[in-house]
């Protein structure tokens, strides 16, 4: 699949935003009021800002952005529609939580309930995003049980890395977020390793012979176009196996560095800042690979012997 930058930006930015928002909600449940109004505002604005950048980027990616509101209508069948609904519903819940958590609205007894709701809506949105990809049977790499958990832990790990960085800037004790962020990072590495293992071990039993019904000795002889067409550009992207392996290793190395920096941040909080930056680089690498390694079954008609 074509690793379009708008989609990579959408999934990494909104993933980090929803992850951070979910953690803020859980902090609200645990600790009640924040120690400073400014800290609450900065973290909430960052979370909602990242989410909004992501949503805007995916909306501008549409052929008809002015009709985007129609995407909220088919939640009964479409995971993309469900994602839209969940994303829209998260805003008022998060804003209400922000108002009581920051102390701007004096209802401290509502913090825990609204915090829980905010975390629930944020993680539900990430879940629906993962489901869009996981339910596409045409792309075997995505159509597996680990796709959704990887999306969820990715959101929590990136949100955690961001929170630790902001807490360090404000000289604030990250409290329980530090172990949560570390745990999410560890789970992400583990699940992504298993995801790639499952992908590599899956049988490549969809063949050009099967697709065309012309038997095992078929090969492409003439292409159905005079210049590269939409289907090839969108779904024909292939990453060299050698490059993919290197990028996978790079991702794990970056995650290991993030983990070490987050550990170091327990002693010296300033280490949380490079940790967040390096995590963003790793996120970009992983998300680029996610698309580039997604091999679409339609490529069988365009010369790919098996998928």
């Amino acid at each position: 699949m074509n690793p379009a930058y708008s989609v990579i930006l959408f999934t990494t930015a909104s993933g980090a935003g929803y992850g951070l928002l979910a953690l803020l909600g859980l902090i609200g449940v645990r600790a009640g009021l924040p120690t400073s109004l400014l800290f609450a505002c900065v973290t909430l604005v960052l979370a909602l800002g990242l989410i909004t950048i992501g949503l805007l980027s995916s909306t501008l990616h549409l052929g008809r952005p002015e009709r985007a509101w129609r995407a909220l209508s088919q939640w009964k069948t479409s995971w993309l529609s469900r994602e839209g609904v969940a994303a829209v519903l998260t805003y008022p819940v998060a804003l209400a939580f922000g108002l009581v958590w920051s102390g701007l609205a004096p209802y401290p007894h509502a913090i825990a309930a609204l915090g829980m709701l905010t975390a629930l809506f944020a993680l539900t949105t990430v879940f629906t995003t993962g489901k869009i990809y996981a339910t596409l049977t045409t792309i075997r790499a995505w159509n597996q049980p680990l796709t959704v958990p990887v999306y969820l832990f990715f959101a929590l790990a990136s949100g955690g890395a961001l929170y630790l960085a902001i807490a360090a800037l404000f000289g604030k004790d990250p409290d329980t977020v530090a172990p949560v962020a570390g745990f999410a990072l560890l789970m992400l590495a583990l699940l992504k390793f298993r995801y790639w293992k499952a992908m590599d071990e899956a049988p490549r039993d969809r063949t050009m012979g099967n697709a065309t019904g012309l038997g095992d000795t078929v090969r492409q002889w003439e292409v159905p176009h005079t210049s590269t067409n939409f289907v090839q550009r969108e779904m024909g992207f292939v990453v060299a196996r050698r490059h993919a392996k290197r990028l996978r290793s790079l991702f794990f190395i970056l995650l290991a560095i993030v983990g070490l920096l987050e550990l170091a941040a327990i002693a010296a909080p300033a280490f949380a800042l490079p940790a967040a930056l390096i995590f963003l680089v790793g996120a970009w690498v992983e998300r680029w690979l996610f698309f580039a390694e997604g091999e679409h079954v339609v490529t069988l008609f365009y010369g790919n012997p098996s998928a």
Partner: protein, 250 residues
């Protein structure tokens, strides 16, 4: 709505004969001609005479070679590929706006160009590459089974067929109700062993493909097998003529 109908009254579709298709592209060009002014209009090509042509086509003709196996010659198969109007099309259920739908009355899968947002997810969900994005129009395009021809009472009854079927000079494309076992297309599928593309994907395509017939593979006479001369006067005359024309003299 993107919920699929439980059953469809008819299952209209195409039967494509891979034995008789000659790859002339008449179906593809007549499809483009009809649809660029019909339901899927405008369906323009960008830079149509330039180096980087780009535009949606609802029907594309692949060419495949079956490499020679022992005792067989190699052969080329022309392979038209368009929407198969599946019974369980994921392209419809993934659509977030309801622009994609499958008609309950005849099973045709359509896109409403007025509500499509051009998110392209349907093209990801289709294993057959049937949906293409129209950059100028900002919406997805696909085969409509010429829904604006087959029920069109302004056309003569014999013209109420998809443009590709009308255009095919070898009769390799057949249109009809594949849900009716007595229909001509269903009988043809039965008789010729028509098959589904990628049946393991579970999309249950309506369109069927007829396999190329097995070639007889009668051994062709080699040069050694030519009849020997019988020594008659006529035979000697031809040998003389052969020597003179070959310039060998004797």
């Amino acid at each position: 709505m993107t919920a699929l109908p439980e059953t469809t009254g008819k299952k209209l579709g195409l039967v494509i004969d891979l034995d008789t298709c000659v790859g002339c592209q008449a179906c593809a060009t007549s499809c483009k001609e009809w649809n660029t002014q019909g339901y899927s209009a405008p369906m323009k090509d960008r830079d149509p005479r330039g180096a980087d042509i780009d535009g949606p086509w609802l029907n594309r003709i692949h060419g495949y070679e079956i490499e020679p196996q022992s005792g067989q010659d190699s052969r080329v198969v022309h392979f038209p590929r368009s929407c198969l109007h599946c019974e369980t099309p994921a392209c419809v259920t993934v659509c977030p706006t309801g622009a994609s739908y499958k008609r309950a009355e005849d099973g045709i899968v359509l896109i409403n160009p007025d509500t499509c947002i051009g998110c392209k997810l349907c093209s990801w969900a289709c294993p057959y590459g049937a949906r293409e994005y129209d950059v100028d129009h900002g919406v997805m395009k696909k085969c409509t089974l010429c829904v604006d021809r087959i029920y069109n009472e302004n056309l003569e009854p014999e013209d109420r067929q998809p443009a590709c079927v009308k255009a095919c000079p070898t009769g390799a494309r057949h249109f009809g109700d594949l849900g009716d076992p007595e229909s001509a297309v269903s009988q043809l599928v039965l008789e010729r062993g028509g098959f589904d593309l990628l049946p393991e994907m579970g999309y249950k395509p309506t369109n069927k493909y007829l396999p190329p017939r097995t070639k007889r593979n009668t051994p062709q006479p080699g040069i050694e097998a030519l009849p020997k001369g019988d020594g008659s006067a006529m035979d000697r005359l031809f040998k003389l003529a052969d020597r003179l024309l070959s310039g060998t003299g004797n």
